[in-house]
Amino acid sequence: MTDFAELTEAEIASGRRLRAKKRAVNIAIDIFLTLFSIAMLLPLVFLIANAFKTPAEMLAWPPTIVPHDPTLENFRAVLGETPLLRWILNSVMFAVMSSIAIIATSSIAGYIFAKFHYRSLNIIFALFLATAIVPFEVYMIPLYFQVKSLGLLNSVWGLLIGYLVMSFGIFLIRQNVIHSIPDELLEAARLDGASEFWIFVHIVFPLLRGALGALGVLAFFQAWTAFAWPMIVATTRSSYTIEVGLALFQTGYTVDLGKLSAASATVLIPSVITFMILRRNFVQGVASTGMKE
C-alpha cells in the first residue's frame, strides 16, 4: 500500500485527471442513453399526443408533443363508431383465462417432470420440448379446423384453445422446482402422511409463487398482443380482440388519424401502466428465457 504522504504532486494530478476523464465518459454515456431512450419512446408519445389533437394541429410541423388545444372529440368519435370497449373486454377475458390455464398446466407438469423420475415421463417431456420449436403460425390452420368442429368460432373459448399450454412455461417451472424445492421437504411431508395432492397444493404451489407470477404476466401479454390467431378465429365484429378490431378499423377509408390515434391510445395507456406495475415480474420472466444456456 502506498502511503498518501508519499504521493508526489504529479501522481495526485494524474489521478485527478483520470477521475475527470472517467466522469466525462460517464456523462457522455448518460447523455447518449437518455437521447436514445427518448427516441425509443417518441413514436408512442406522439401517438398519445395525436389522440388529443384537433385535425388542424395534427398537420402542423413541427409536431407538437403537448397539444395546444386538447380535445376529447377523437375519443368520443371512436367510441361512437366502434365497439372499442367490447373489444378490450374480449382481449382482457382471453388474456386472463389464458394466463390461468397456462399457470395451471405449467405448474402441474413442471412439478411432475422435475420430481418424478420415470422413463415414460422423460419421453413425454422430450416431446413437450421438441414441439416448443414449432411456431404457432405453422399449425394454426389445422387448429382452426379443430376449433371450427367444436363450434367455438367467434368466441373467447375458441381463442383460448390456441393458448392453453406453453412449452416454455413448463420448462420454466421445472427449472424452478429443481432449484428451489428440495426433495427432503417433500419426503418429510410424505413421512408425516401428507398425500401427493396435498403436497402439491400446500407446499409446491406456494413456493413457486414468484415464478408463476412471472409466467402469468408473460402469458397475459402473449395473449393480449396475439394477432394472427384471433384474426382467423374471431371474425364477427363483436368477437374481435382489440388488436384485430383496431387493425381492421384502420383499413376503413373513412377513418382519420385522430380517431385512429385515440383508439390506439385507449389500448396503449392501460398496457403500459400494467407493464410498469408488473415490470419486475415481466423482466424476470423474459430474462429467464435467455438463461437456458
Binding site: L44, L164, Y253, G290
Partner: protein
C-alpha cells in the same frame, strides 16, 4: 405399494395437461404434415393424396416466391440492425447499472417490445405517412424529396424492418444485460490493469464471451422474423381498405391460400416450408453451440 401410488399420482396429475397438449399441439402439427401432401379444397369432399405435388407447385408460384423473398429480407434485415445495436446499448446500460438512470434506460428500451402490436404499428404508420408524416417533413429540412414510404414496394419493406427492429431491440437488450451480468468481473479487471480501454475490452472480451447469447438472440429474432405478419398487415394496408399486399409475407400468403382461395392442402405445404426454415435455424444454433463446447 407407496411407489406405485406415486406413479399413479404422477400420471393422473399430468393427464389433463397431456390431453390438452396432445389436442392443441401434437395433433395439429401432425395434421399440417398430413394436409401438405393432400389436395384439399374446402369446397370439395375428397382429399386425394398427391405426394409432393403442392411443393412442386410452390416452386413456380410467384406470389409465394415473392413472399418468401420479402420475409427472408425482413428477417435478416431485423437481425442486422438488432444484434449490433442491442449489444452496444446493453453494454452502455450495463456500464451505468446501479445509477439512478439505469432503470429508466432499461424500461424505455423495453416498452416497445411489450406494447400491443397494432397501436405501435399505427404510430409508425403516421411517421411514415407520405403527406402528413413527420419523417418526410424532417427529411425536407435537408432538401430530401418526400418519399411514398408505404406505397413503394422496396421502401415499405424497409419500413417493416424499422418497425420490427424497434420492437425486437428491447428483448435483445434484456437478454444481453443478463449475459453481461454473468460475465466474470475478474477478466475485465485484469484487462484494465493491462491498460485496455472500455471499447477494447468490449471488442476483445465481451463480444467473444457473449457468443452463445448472440447465437440464441439471433435464432429467436430470425424465427420471429420469418413469422412476421401483423406489422406488414398494418403498415402496408393502404387507406382504401385493401388488405396489405405491398409487403407480401409468408404468413399472409398462407392465410390467403387457405381462407380466400380455400386451398388448405396448398397452404399446409407453405406451413411446412416455414417449419423447415425454423428447424434448420434451430439446428444451426445447436450445432454451433456444441462445437463451441468441444473447443
Amino acid at each position: 405399494m407407496l411407489k406405485r401410488k406415486r406413479w399413479i399420482f404422477a400420471i393422473l396429475a399430468l393427464l389433463p395437461t397431456l390431453a390438452i397438449f396432445a389436442y392443441v399441439r401434437m395433433y395439429p402439427i401432425v395434421d399440417i404434415l398430413r394436409l401438405s401432401v393432400h389436395r384439399w379444397n374446402i369446397l370439395s369432399k375428397n382429399k386425394p393424396f398427391i405426394g409432393l405435388e403442392n411443393f412442386r407447385e410452390l416452386m413456380g408460384d410467384h406470389l409465394f416466391l415473392s413472399a418468401l423473398m420479402n420475409t427472408t429480407i425482413i428477417a435478416f434485415g431485423v437481425l442486422a440492425i438488432t444484434i449490433p445495436l442491442a449489444m452496444v446499448i446493453a453494454a452502455l446500460i450495463f456500464h451505468r447499472t446501479r445509477t439512478r438512470m439505469s432503470g429508466f434506460y432499461e424500461t424505455s428500451v423495453f416498452i416497445p417490445h411489450i406494447v400491443s402490436l397494432v397501436p405501435a404499428a399505427m404510430a409508425w404508420k403516421w411517421i411514415f405517412d407520405a403527406r402528413l408524416g413527420p419523417l418526410n417533413a424532417f427529411l425536407s429540412v435537408f432538401g430530401i424529396e418526400p418519399q411514398a414510404w408505404l406505397f413503394d414496394p422496396v421502401l415499405s419493406v424497409i419500413c417493416v424492418i424499422v418497425l420490427c427492429s424497434w420492437q425486437a431491440l428491447g428483448y435483445a437488450v434484456l437478454i444481453y444485460l443478463v449475459g453481461f451480468k454473468n460475465l466474470p468481473v475478474s477478466l475485465y479487471e485484469a484487462a484494465k490493469l493491462d491498460g485496455a480501454s472500455g471499447p477494447t475490452s468490449f471488442w476483445h472480451l465481451s463480444i467473444p464471451m457473449l457468443k452463445p447469447i448472440t447465437l440464441y438472440v439471433s435464432v429467436v429474432t430470425l424465427v420471429s422474423g420469418f413469422n412476421v405478419y401483423a406489422q406488414p398487415f398494418v403498415l402496408a394496408s393502404d387507406s382504401q381498405g385493401a388488405p396489405g399486399r405491398q409487403v407480401r409475407v409468408l404468413v399472409l400468403d398462407m392465410l390467403e391460400n387457405s381462407f380466400r382461395n380455400y386451398r388448405v392442402g396448398y397452404a399446409a405445404s407453405e406451413a411446412v416450408v416455414l417449419l423447415v426454415i425454423v428447424l434448420v435455424l434451430t439446428l444451426i444454433q445447436f450445432t454451433l453451440l456444441r462445437e463451441k463446447g468441444k473447443a
